[in-house]
């Protein structure tokens, strides 16, 4: 109704005049342009975004008052972020470079400043924690990062010390300027691993020559002069970092798992010190067999020395709180905690407490506070942490302690579990919020239709064949009537709800989605998003609201595992539940396991899984279904033997019958080998074709087939002269993309091969000269679109290949790869694209009538909806009558990027990794999910909403016109009758 404007993405509905003017402008400017945009009042109506940060490495709380709301985390995704601790929402987030260049080595917090060392000691950064702004950034000297700590001068923290492999440097906290930098003596032999400052005039560096001796160097804070240098005999010591801490008044405490003893050493002693040994046995302590004991200490304030109390972990669930006596070499045990998963120190004001997490029962863990001085339990400090049935175990504990008004210690606790989830708990055990940070690394996903409602299902069940056979005629009629009554009831209830909600203001209507109320909507726009994350946690997310409806953590998943998610049975086969299978493959061994679950409820199915003793090379989903309507999954192992799942008799019989028409391909990119196989009746296979791309010349980087659920509505294209150009629609076609091994800009190339997956026939072979990857491509319908880097012109380019059979179809009734002797005509055109891209996908609709768009994820976080019309190799260079008739856009070498094509307006998706598209029940509408660090869900309408009435459709006007016309006809009819009668009388 109101056309969108050219530049601004938001268009106020009220500014009709303006919009009309701009629309004229748009139409006159670009005749063929299809413009679409989001109206301001549509923001957030059909779309949502969730922002994540990744697995937490460091977490700190702002200050130790009860009212503070901020907490800071640094994660393995190179992100530094701040959360609102009341809601768990992101306050701000800084996304650094991926990879080791942006990795966060350490995060230190002091007052308003957050200090961070980035990129293995490359940069030192200071952030203002209030607003998340960068205070300063200092480039550090080369050398790998070892340790960092705050240094106080006369009770105020003014400096930060950074220890590198061969140098120690001090920087001012206020501006990042370097106070001094000193090379460490003999750094080739000595591994310097720790730096310590206890508020004195010196800063100590600890280094070790493994299994020989320990080196202690004291530097003067003032000018970096070495005050003293000690070497202590320590043949048992291999690493300071892993086995030593500083406790009390500068006493180094080390644990040796070999001799089962603690060693103490005063660092600041004047004369040459020596380690004094305390056997654990003398303290009545025993280390669990095979466990490396760990020491945990706490330094509440950098200007003061650490606490003399410390934890010693003796086993996976055994901790002891120990105290170093004032003499510096005797130890008193304060309290034994067994079982205890996690321990943590927390300080508020002058009080330091220890938080200990102990298992309570199967569904919860208890966290208690203990006084550090005495080891006594503080009263009323128990907090329960609920353990989820299919969640990860607690992994880390971050305690925010504060003083209450009555001077007692209160606390909140952040628990990190193995599945990367963060849970924030308040006394007395209320879960304030949970963040599922595993979603920062989604690997693959599927969208599954929601099930029908109870009444709909009942209707379906009524017409099920089983029911019809069992019942007679009369019960069937009764059943019919009763189901009609329930339908009527449901409809009335629906009407009542509509009426009830209409009276409330719009904002207050909130449909809480729970797993029980899930049902398919009229147009199948709401679906279940099944997301698989790299950590091995599965999620079921409602696509409408973005709320997580179920989660399931798979333990024992290797960090480098590859996942493939397969929908074996959709929701369409009531009463059989839908079924998804996740194939988890260990990349090193190639061994695979299956996880079969119900995608709606997330529950694991209790189906007998096939034994997979051999590495799996390939999996393929056949259109064959078993008697329970589950599609058959074939798994090919490294001996080319095939395992079917499910493998019932029925399935095996069907497979035997169909064996000669089941073909599959295998690709070994390391050998450049593509080979095809045919299934035999005994489920063994035979190799029937082989194509080898020599690895000396080029390597296969990606292979893509077509999506099996893709529909193509039109078989051909009508040309200007009214003849039809038929598309080459080969469902078995594979697009193989290669890159040259020669990376010289002049000789580098990108190869595109179109290979038939059944016969191994190379349908087309093209080489893009002077080109380099990364190549992103989409293969759909009869076209392939790929994007590459042009090394000569130094720009990104898009190329489109389209395949046509010509003006006549070879065999119009059925397509068979075995019977298509003629090669298709291939048309290709290339365009300049003014931006690099990170991922690409094509829209998908129910019947394939709607025109296609390409969804392009840009590094900026925008998602561009590029009409396929612009990527058409038939775009003419010279406009003719025919091309105008066909609506072809004249060729222009540069592809435009229009801001109104950004489907996610200002909701950028950081580090887009993949885009998933799914058809909805409406032909015009395609559901889109973009995932990366963030998750963004929206709908796109590539040909606008041609099958939907507008929101502002004037029902009143239309119906009043209808009624008026109706009455007008009635009245005029009556009048005409009267007139006729009168005339008759005359």
């Amino acid at each position: 109704m109101y056309p969108p404007s050219l530049v601004v993405t938001f268009t106020k509905k009220s500014s009709v005049k303006m919009a009309k003017l701009t629309s004229l402008f748009v139409i006159s400017l670009s005749f063929f342009c299809i413009s679409e945009a989001v109206f301001e009042d549509q923001v957030g109506k059909f779309d949502w975004r969730q922002q994540y940060v990744g697995k937490t490495l460091f977490a700190h709380f702002e200050s130790n008052t009860q009212s503070s709301k901020k907490m800071f985390v640094a994660t393995d995704k190179n992100i530094f972020a701040s959360f609102n601790s009341r809601t768990g929402d992101l306050l701000w987030r800084h996304v650094d470079k991926t990879g080791p260049e942006g990795s966060i080595d350490i995060l230190l917090l002091h007052g308003q400043d957050a200090l961070m060392v980035v990129g293995d000691g490359r940069l030192l950064r200071s952030w203002d924690t209030n607003i998340g702004g960068l205070n300063w950034e200092a480039v550090l000297d080369t050398g790998s990062f070892q340790a960092a700590c705050f240094v106080a001068i006369q009770d105020t923290v003014k400096l930060v010390a950074v220890l590198k492999k061969a140098a120690l440097s001090l920087h001012y906290l206020s501006n990042g300027h370097q106070k001094w930098v000193e090379n460490l003596p003999d750094s080739d032999a000595v591994q310097y691993q720790a730096v310590y400052s206890g508020g004195e005039e010196e800063v100590y560096v600890l280094g070790v020559v493994p299994n020989s001796h320990l080196t202690i160097i004291a530097y003067s804070l003032e000018d970096g002069e070495i005050i003293k240098q000690r070497s202590v005999e320590a043949s048992w010591l291999s690493s300071v970092e892993s086995s030593c801490v500083v406790v009390g008044q500068g006493v180094l405490m080390c644990v040796d798992p070999a001799t089962l003893a603690l060693y103490t050493l005063p660092i600041q002693a004047e004369e040459t010190p020596e380690f004094s040994q305390i056997l654990l046995q003398s303290l009545d302590l025993e280390v669990s067999p095979g466990f490396q004991p760990v020491l945990v200490s706490s330094q509440p304030h950098p200007a003061r020395s650490p606490l003399s109390e410390f934890f010693l972990q003796l086993g996976p669930d055994h901790h002891v709180l120990l105290q170093l006596n004032a003499d510096g070499y005797t130890i008193a045990p304060l309290r034994d905690f067994q079982p205890a998963f996690l321990v943590s120190f927390a300080t508020t004001g002058k009080k330091t407490v220890a938080a200990v997490m102990t298992p309570k029962n199967e569904t919860a863990c208890a966290i208690n506070l203990f006084s550090v001085d005495s080891g006594r339990r503080l009263l009323d400090t128990t907090v329960l942490f609920p353990l989820e049935l299919n969640g990860g175990k607690p992994h880390a504990l971050y305690v925010h302690a504060f003083l209450k008004k009555d001077d007692s210690v209160g606390y909140r606790v952040l628990v990190q579990t193995q599945d990367h989830a963060l849970t924030f708990i308040q006394q007395p055990g209320r879960v304030v919020w949970t963040r599922e940070e595993a979603l920062a690394d989604v690997v693959t996903m599927e969208m599954v239709d929601l099930p029908l409602t109870g009444t709909q299902a009942e209707l379906e069940g009524e017409f099920g064949k089983k029911a019809a056979i069992q019942d007679g005629l009369f019960p069937m009629v009764l059943k019919r009537l009763s189901s009609q009554v329930t339908l009527l009831q449901a409809w009335l209830a629906h009407l009542w709800k509509l009426f009830y909600e209409a009276r409330k203001p719009r904002g207050q209507v909130k449909n809480e989605v729970t797993i029980e109320t899930l049902s398919r909507d009229e147009f199948n726009l709401q679906k279940m998003m099944v997301m698989v994350t790299a950590s091995g946690k599965l999620f079921g997310i409602d696509s409408k609201s973005g709320s997580i409806l179920w989660k399931h953590y798979l333990e024992n998943v290797q960090p480098n595992a590859a996942f493939k998610l397969i929908v074996q049975r959709t929701t369409a086969h009531f009463p059989h539940p839908p079924q998804c299978t996740l194939l988890i493959k260990d990349k090193d061994t190639g061994l695979a396991t299956l996880h079969v679950f119900n995608p709606i409820f997330g529950r694991k199915s209790h189906i007998a899984l096939p034994a997979l003793p051999r590495p799996i090379l390939q999996s393929l989903l056949l259109p064959v279904i078993d008697q329970d309507y589950a599609k058959v999954l074939l798994l090919v192992d490294d001996q080319y033997k095939v395992t079917a799942f499910p493998s019932t008799k029925n399935v095996l019989q069907q497979l035997q019958e169909m064996a000669s028409s089941i073909f599959f391909y295998l690709i070994r990119s390391d050998q450049g080998n593509l080979s095809g196989f045919r299934l035999r009746k005994d489920l063994s296979t035979e190799r029937i074709w082989e194509v080898v791309l020599p690895t000396e010349v080029q390597k296969i980087v990606a292979v893509k087939g077509k999506r099996p659920n893709e529909h193509v509505h039109s078989q051909g294209r009508v040309m200007g002269d009214r003849s039809v150009l038929y598309k080459y629609l080969n469902p078995n076609l594979l697009a193989v993309v290669t890159e040259s091994t020669d990376t010289h800009p002049e000789r580098a190339f990108v190869g595109v091969f179109l290979v038939d997956g059944v016969t191994g026939r190379i349908i087309h072979e093209a080489v893009q000269r002077k080109a380099r990857g990364p190549v992103h491509f989409v293969h759909s319908e009869n076209w392939v679109v790929y994007e590459y880097w042009n090394t000569k012109s130094r720009r990104n380019e898009f190329s489109v290949l389209e395949l046509f059979e010509g003006t006549e179809l070879y065999n119009s009734t059925v397509f068979s790869s075995l019977d298509r002797p003629h090669l298709p005509q291939v048309l290709q055109q290339t365009y300049i694209f003014p931006s690099p891209i990170t991922t690409m996908e094509a829209t998908l609709t129910e019947k394939g009538i709607t025109s296609r768009h390409l969804l392009v994820g840009l590094p900026s976080g925008a998602i561009l909806s590029l009409p396929k019309m612009f990527l058409d190799p038939r775009r003419p260079e010279v406009v003719t009558e025919h091309s105008r008739e066909e609506n072809l856009i004249p060729y222009a070498p540069e592809m435009p990027i229009r801001t109104e094509w950004f489907i996610n307006y200002n909701q950028t998706v950081a580090r887009v990794k993949g885009i998933y598209t799914a058809p909805s029940g409406l032909e015009s509408t395609c559901l889109v999910v973009a995932y990366g660090l963030d998750i963004y869900q929206t709908r796109v309408y590539p040909s606008k909403q041609f099958d939907v009435l507008k929101d502002d459709y004037d029902y009143v006007l239309i119906s009043s016109v209808l009624f008026a016309l109706f009455f007008a006809t009635m009245i005029s009819k009556r009048l005409a009758q009267v007139k006729l009668l009168n005339r008759a009388w005359r």
Binding site: E690, S740, D742, E765, N811, T830, E877
Partner: protein, 250 residues
């Protein structure tokens, strides 16, 4: 090899079709040695083998010899023998059980003769035996090479390709292959056509732009300016009198 037909007397060479594939851009991509060898490069021959068995186990036998000629202009020709009585029967049997007819060629390089023998392995392709029989042994074999002249794939199709189940009665139809042989090198994908586009833009610009640029602002709108000036002058000369009249009245 032991089962090579005894009917070697009938050996005949079937003329083949040559398709020349020029590969210009390739010449400077590290093939300078190959170019130098062009003078004494007389081509070489590799075996083309086929296999058709009722039990679908691959047992490849000689079908013919491919004469390959690399270099600037790649060409290929094929000399092959006729099928023996025994082979014909086997082929018919295989066709009856919907078996496969497979062919293979060794992996070779057309340009670099040193590495020719070092590469192991074969390139394989297949066609349904029934379609080969029904097409009376008329097949199309295509060899694909990559940018540097390595053979990367082979394909075989028959024309017509369908299996309709028609019986081939005449034995003579299954004696000699009627082979069309082609060799295909990769095509160069197009670059963005900036030069042509700019040229076209220039032409359009010239067409439209020239008459406008030559005329200056005054030259174009002199009549309007003149008309305006006259109008202004006329109105200014008329106004003082009107104003004067008003003054007199007050």
């Amino acid at each position: 090899m032991a089962s090579v037909p005894r009917s070697f007397l009938l050996l005949s060479i079937i003329p083949t079709i040559l398709i020349l594939c020029a590969d210009f851009a390739c010449c400077n991509t590290g093939r300078k040695t190959g170019d130098g060898l062009d003078t004494d490069f007389s081509g070489f021959s590799v075996p083309l083998e086929h296999s058709f068995q009722v039990d679908d186990v691959s047992r490849f036998r000689m079908r013919g010899a491919l004469q390959l000629r690399g270099g600037r202009e790649t060409s290929v020709s094929l000399s092959q023998s006729q099928l023996s009585e025994e082979d014909r029967n086997t082929l018919k049997e295989v066709a009856a059980v919907d078996g496969l007819y497979k062919i293979r060629v060794p992996r070779v390089s057309l340009t670099d003769r040193q590495t020719e023998r070092q590469m192991d392995g074969y390139l394989t392709a297949f066609v349904r035996a029934c379609s080969l029989v029904e097409s009376h042994l008329s097949d199309v074999i295509t060899l694909h090479t990559d940018v540097s002249g390595y053979l990367i794939g082979v394909s075989i199709v028959t024309i017509p390709g369908a299996c309709r189940g028609t019986e081939v009665e005449d034995e003579v139809d299954l004696e000699a292959f009627n082979t069309t042989l082609t060799i295909i090198a990769p095509t160069n994908a197009p670059q963005p056509e900036t030069a042509l586009f700019i040229e076209r833009m220039d032409i359009e610009h010239e067409k439209r732009g020239k008459p406008q640029e030559q005329k200056s602002f005054f030259a174009k709108y002199w009549y309007l300016i003149l008309g305006g000036a006259i109008f202004l002058m006329a109105s200014s000369s008329a106004q003082p009198s009107a104003g004067g009249a008003e003054e007199q009245q007050s």
